[in-house]
């Protein structure tokens, strides 16, 4: 079953085609790696899929809802986490969970139960009343990921979730991603760490607004005759004509 269906999706800013006719599907429980060089159009595409920006052309359904008609429903059925924005630093761990629970319309009873199970699972019971800013980055990111799953979304969008995180925590974070995917949550993730591309079920690579390659890491490595995903990425992204430079 597909939880994301994208057909000929485009977003133009004046003459600039930030996203230029992309099509792909993501099925339930997949870990979908969304790669591309800076300026390739990843953020613009992701904003559309999260219901935050309307496409210029094309169709897409996310979590079963139409991008044009049901943007609000999409927002209710997805989770989102990025390196830049995740939790409120000057609220405690417990307050952050309560806040996001409220935003997503959970009942007090649900919030209470979720809070206890989350604190237990993350081994943060002792720290529950501490301000989030006092937590090490790695813990913060793990907590932010759990909070993005608070309302049991069908899909979670992760925008460079492991940037700057220490190597051990980065791997613990990916274990959490695997666990979520095992439970049927679809994970849509961007990263600049090429080893992480290997952990995805399938990977797409965007170049100049288009999807230049899409497949399992194994398929892509064979197709581009590369020893690893880093090499696949370099081969494709070097062709980019536009973008950041």
């Amino acid at each position: 079953m597909n939880v994301i269906e994208v057909e000929n999706l485009s977003k133009h800013f004046g003459k600039f085609k930030a996203v230029d006719d992309i099509s792909f599907n993501v099925s339930r429980g997949e870990i979908f790696g969304f790669l591309g060089a800076n300026g390739a159009g990843k953020t613009t595409a992701m904003r559309m899929l999260c219901g935050l920006s309307l496409p210029t052309l094309g169709e897409a359904r996310v979590a079963g809802f139409d991008l044009y008609k049901d943007a609000e429903q999409i927002k209710r059925n997805i989770g989102y986490m990025s390196q830049r924005f995740s939790l409120y630093d000057d609220l405690s761990i417990r307050e952050n969970i309560r806040f996001y629970g409220g935003i997503y319309g959970l009942t007090n009873k649900q919030i209470k139960a979720k809070t206890e199970s989350m604190l237990h699972h993350l081994n943060l019971e002792e720290e529950a009343n501490k301000m989030v800013k006092s937590l090490p980055l790695g813990w913060k990111q793990k907590l932010a990921f759990s909070v993005s799953l608070l309302h049991d979304p069908q899909i979670v969008f992760l925008d460079e979730p492991t940037g700057g995180v220490d190597p051990i925590t980065r791997r613990e974070f990916w274990t959490m991603i695997y666990e979520a995917s095992d439970k049927g949550t679809t994970v849509f993730v961007t990263t600049h760490y090429m080893d992480e591309a290997e952990y995805c079920s399938r990977v797409s690579i965007m170049v100049d607004g288009k999807i230049d390659a899409l497949g399992t890491p194994l398929e892509l490595k064979e197709k581009f005759d590369s020893p690893n995903m880093g090499d696949v990425f370099l081969k494709l992204a070097r062709k980019a004509k536009r973008g950041d430079n």
């Binding site: 190597p167 791997r171 973008g243």
Partner: protein
């Protein structure tokens, strides 16, 4: 004379009622002309260290010299000699590319033309946009402009704080090529990064974690100190393989590394018995090779 010499630098921050020790007494030297990497995750203390060495912040304890000058007594002299590119873009957004560069040249009593040879290779990338306001540049172009501005007074020591964070793999590679070229012109470069794979591009690296130096050495030297036999193992079901390996008594550590898992064992490994065991657990297409450690393996080993 060393380009940089740090002796027992300690820095403590007061955060509300508690204190955070950002640097726990760091000592190291950087040779002249060296490309020196400070490698560590966010919160390791990289930025604090760079701020102290660039005379923008005072340490509570310890001393440091840059280009032979003391960071406290001779801060004015140091500021004339060094270039500093902070992690956060800090040029004037409402000045054009050319105006920014000219502004920084003027601050240091020099001109763009006097030192153009040094920045030429980098500036050529952004010259087509020289009349564009800096605020309207893309990330990669901002970064190149910032590097030009940090170089325009021909510094002896260049400090680059996380220049490649959030930058894609292609642009990162290009940026390191620029650094190698600058190094050839005799500039000492200190660069901080959270990307472990960039360590191999430096002459020497300091591995930093929670304000402590885990090690300082050449990348090869650090890797050589990883004494345990390291195995790369893969099968068709990688997440299952990770869980299964972690449960085994003889497995000391097991971490995912891209398409394989890196594993160390408590006792000498009997390959065929491990293979049998994993096959019995349903793993197919098993591949096991003994490999050389990477900087990231070493970093994780030292973190323990």
């Amino acid at each position: 004379m060393k380009a940089v010499s740090a002796n027992s630098i300690k820095k403590i921050f007061n955060v509300e009622k508690s204190t955070v020790t950002a640097l726990q007494g760091l000592s190291f030297d950087v040779e002249q002309g060296e490309l020196f990497g400070v490698i560590g995750p966010d919160g390791a203390g990289k930025t604090t260290l760079f701020r102290i060495l660039t005379t923008l912040m005072l340490a509570q304890e310890g001393s440091a010299q840059v280009d032979g000058f003391d960071v406290v007594k001779d801060f004015k002299e140091i500021r004339k000699r060094i270039g500093y590119m902070p992690g956060r873009f800090s040029l004037y957004q409402d000045l054009t590319v050319e105006e920014n560069l000219s502004f920084f040249a003027t601050l240091f009593n020099t001109s763009i033309s006097a030192n153009y040879d040094l920045v030429k290779d980098i500036y050529e990338h952004i010259e087509p946009f020289k009349y564009r306001r800096a605020g309207a540049l893309s990330g990669g172009m901002k970064q190149k402009l910032a590097l030009c501005c940090a170089l325009i007074h021909r510094p002896t020591v260049l400090f680059l704080d996380e220049p490649t964070t959030g930058v894609d793999a292609v642009s990162r590679q290009e940026f390191w090529e620029l650094l190698k070229n600058l190094q050839k012109q005799g500039i000492t470069i200190l660069v901080s990064t959270p990307y472990m794979d960039e360590a191999s591009l430096c002459n020497r690296v300091a591995l930093l974690q929670e304000g402590k130096l885990l090690d300082i050495d050449s990348p090869e030297g650090i890797i050589k100190k990883f004494k345990k036999p390291l195995w790369a193992i893969r099968s068709t079901k990688m997440f299952r393989l990770l869980q299964d390996l972690k449960k085994m008594d003889n497995v000391e550590s097991c971490f995912p590394f891209g398409q394989e898992h890196h594993v160390t064992f408590k006792e000498v490994l009997n390959i065929s018995s491990l293979e049998k065991e994993l096959t019995a657990l349903g793993h197919r297409d098993l591949k096991m090779n003994q490999i050389q450690a990477t900087i990231e393996d070493s970093f994780m080993e030292l973190m323990k």
